[in-house]
């Protein structure tokens, strides 16, 4: 992509693209008539390097989408810091928030809901190109065509005047990707981008995102519940449960040598895993998200649980193997 029009963030050498420190997001709920708080994101730390894909894996309710939304600043962090491209974006508002959208974009799960049914494909691209890159006339027309070409929506002349209902799910998701790329972002949050697509076109969209990463040195937070695609697309995998990080490691390492009991459980449950054994869990309770909980969030389901786990929350620590795991008994 050509050079951006506005002042874009510059990154010092060696500085990560995304730096999240002690991030907390909490929501009020009503519990027994009184106000209480739940913490879907509970003191989370991680970084994403330039051109790196961090795959965030977990079940529904683990807080993975909330992290994505916090990084996009669709929700505001309750505590902690989010630094993207060297800029603290934790509490920005108004103009600076609008500018931030040029650095970070999001691809949503549902390509049927994320496009406007009464706008053509090219109109979807014109809006960000006009607003953020001040393109007009021929420039606008040409740039939109380039973007469609880039995401493989050819023949461009025919596709650009189509409406979303004339496109397949995979094509719609490609439009969403083209729209995200229109502002020349540095960082993309992709929230389950392929889970609603037909199996035969998922691979194409995954490969496209991979290609774009290489071509433009894009950083991604790839949110998914599917370990196999996380392993394919992610450089590193971060496993979440109940709002906390359970384990982080290089993708291949994590699949080959999982250390945290929850990672092991997820792996055992994933279809296509050649090792078939009884699921290593003791119950299927949902995690307690209430603020002020004690002990390990996974304790109620963990086969290795001891009294220590119920009282003391394990810290995420780096192990000899290079994994980071939050477990008293991780090995």
């Amino acid at each position: 992509m050509s050079s951006p029009a506005m002042q874009k963030t510059t990154l010092a050498v060696g500085q990560p693209m995304v730096q999240v420190e002690d991030l907390v997001v909490r929501f009020p709920i009503r519990s027994g008539g009184r106000r209480a708080w739940i913490t879907p994101v509970d003191h989370v730390n991680f970084t994403i390097g330039r051109g790196e894909v961090l795959a965030l894996v977990g079940e529904s309710g683990s807080g993975k989408t909330t992290i994505g939304k916090a990084l996009m600043r669709i929700v505001e962090p309750s505590a902690g810091k989010i630094v993207v491209g060297g800029k603290d974006v934790s509490h920005i508002k108004g103009r600076s928030l609008a500018d931030y959208r040029e650095d970070a974009q999001m691809i949503f799960q549902d390509p049927f809901g994320s496009l406007n049914a009464v706008k053509t494909v090219e109109q979807h691209l014109y809006f960000p190109l006009k607003k953020h890159r001040q393109l007009r006339g021929d420039d606008l027309y040409i740039k939109a065509g380039e973007l469609l070409e880039l995401v493989g929506l050819t023949p461009v002349r025919e596709t650009r005047i189509k409406f979303p209902n004339e496109l397949s799910g995979g094509q719609r998701q490609r439009v969403a990707i083209a729209r995200a790329l229109a502002v020349d972002p540095k960082f993309l949050v992709a929230d389950e981008p392929i889970s609603m697509l037909d199996v035969s076109i998922r691979a194409g969209v995954l490969k496209l995102m991979n290609q774009l990463k290489d071509d433009f040195k894009l950083s991604y937070l790839y949110i998914t519940h599917d370990l196999a695609s996380a392993r394919y697309f992610g450089d590193r995998i971060m496993v979440m449960y109940g709002g906390q990080i359970m384990e982080t490691a290089d993708s291949r390492e994590l699949i080959r040598r999982p250390t945290h009991p929850y990672t092991k459980l997820l792996l055992a449950a994933t279809p296509g895993n050649p090792i078939r054994e009884k699921l290593p869990e003791t119950s299927n309770l949902a995690p307690n998200l209430l603020e002020g909980r004690t002990g390990c969030v996974f304790a109620s389901r963990c086969p290795l649980v001891t009294d220590r786990c119920r009282e003391e929350m394990p810290k995420l620590t780096v192990l000899e193997t290079g994994h980071s795991a939050a477990c008293h008994y991780a090995s």
Binding site: V199, G204, P271, G272, K278
Partner: protein, 330 residues
């Protein structure tokens, strides 16, 4: 295997939807047999006709959809030759279905127990309330939910528990044949795995046959003994699930699907998408419907629909296997 009487027998089944421009075929001359105590997977993308076929088997087609051709027999009985009364008694007692969305399959304003009682009583009026309650508790045990939840309303249960309740209701009358239409698609992997393990365990205990519909290839290959693959309304391949560990000797569509799935444990992951997208049923490609996306396409594919050939243990509808024995279903 052919010596046994199949629980499900599809002969030349076509299902169509009436439209302004005439009928559109969603299921096109499909043949399939499911034998007692067998789990058969039915895989296809959205729009391939798999759910339409399931509704046709249950004789639940509504609105513009109708059985255009062929016969559907369950336990040797022609479903479409039954009177409404016979059908009412037959359905759920002999064949039942687990629907995709557990929340909409359950009645939100009735307790779980009431829904069990409803099902049991409508087929056996002699059953006392006490007997119904005992049976309901027994069924809850079978799907590993504490019977104390019988008094709960569906919204008080987790997604996994609801789907277990739906499964328990489906097998309440001990049918010989159960259709499961994407029963775990909306659930987390761990819950999905535990439900699948349970389906297998229950199936070994109370013996019924399952037609398991899914779009998840690796899941079906693990669960089922045989897998049927649908594309654009046609059953393009029926294969032993063991054969699906290899990417060769399949229908090109099956091969494409197998290459499109990232493998969890392989050392080097290379995935290859299938070019193009699934066809619109209103304007199906000529000849073999897969030909615009097929890497092996020839002129013959564009002009003529292929016959069904026997390839190893599989039956495949593709010109590439011309030379092999032709399968005659009817």
């Amino acid at each position: 295997m052919s010596s046994r009487i199949p629980v499900l027998e599809l002969e030349d089944v076509s299902v169509a939807y009436d439209t302004h421009n005439g009928p559109v075929q969603a299921v096109n001359r499909v043949n399939l047999k499911v034998y007692p105590e067998e789990i058969v997977g039915l895989v296809g993308e959205s729009g391939s006709g798999k759910s339409t076929l399931a509704y046709a088997i249950m004789r639940l087609l509504k609105g513009a959809a109708f059985l255009q051709n062929g016969t559907i027999k369950v336990m040797g009985k022609d479903i479409y030759a039954m009177s409404p009364k016979e059908l009412q008694a037959f359905r759920w007692a002999q064949m039942s279905m687990v629907f995709q969305s557990a929340m909409s399959a359950l009645n939100p304003v009735m307790t779980v127990e009431q829904q069990f009682i409803d099902t049991l009583r409508s087929h056996n009026k002699q059953m006392t309330l006490e007997q119904c309650r005992m049976r309901a508790a027994e069924l809850m045990d079978l799907v590993r939910i504490d019977p104390k939840y019988l008094g709960s309303y569906p919204h008080q249960l987790s997604g996994g528990m609801r789907q277990r309740v739906v499964i328990a209701i489906a097998i309440a009358l001990e049918p010989a044949f159960v259709i499961m239409d994407e029963p775990t698609t909306a659930l987390d992997v761990v819950v999905q795995r535990s439900i699948l393990d349970q389906i297998q365990a229950i199936q070994r205990k109370v013996h019924f046959a399952v037609l398991f519909i899914s779009h998840d290839f690796s899941l079906v290959a693990e669960l089922a003994q045989r897998v049927a693959i649908m594309y654009a309304g046609r059953m393009v391949e029926v294969a032993d699930s063991r054969a699906l560990t290899q990417t060769e000797n399949h229908h090109p569509y099956t091969e494409g699907l197998l290459r499109a799935i990232p493998r969890l444990t392989a050392d080097e992951i290379v995935i290859e998408g299938i070019p193009g997208h699934p066809p619109n049923l209103v304007s199906l490609p000529s000849g073999c419907a897969f030909h615009p996306r097929c890497p092996y396409v020839t002129d013959e594919c564009r002009q003529q629909r292929p016959s069904l050939y026997e390839v190893g243990t599989a039956e495949i509808e593709c010109h590439r296997y011309a030379g092999q024995k032709v399968v005659q279903h009817v």
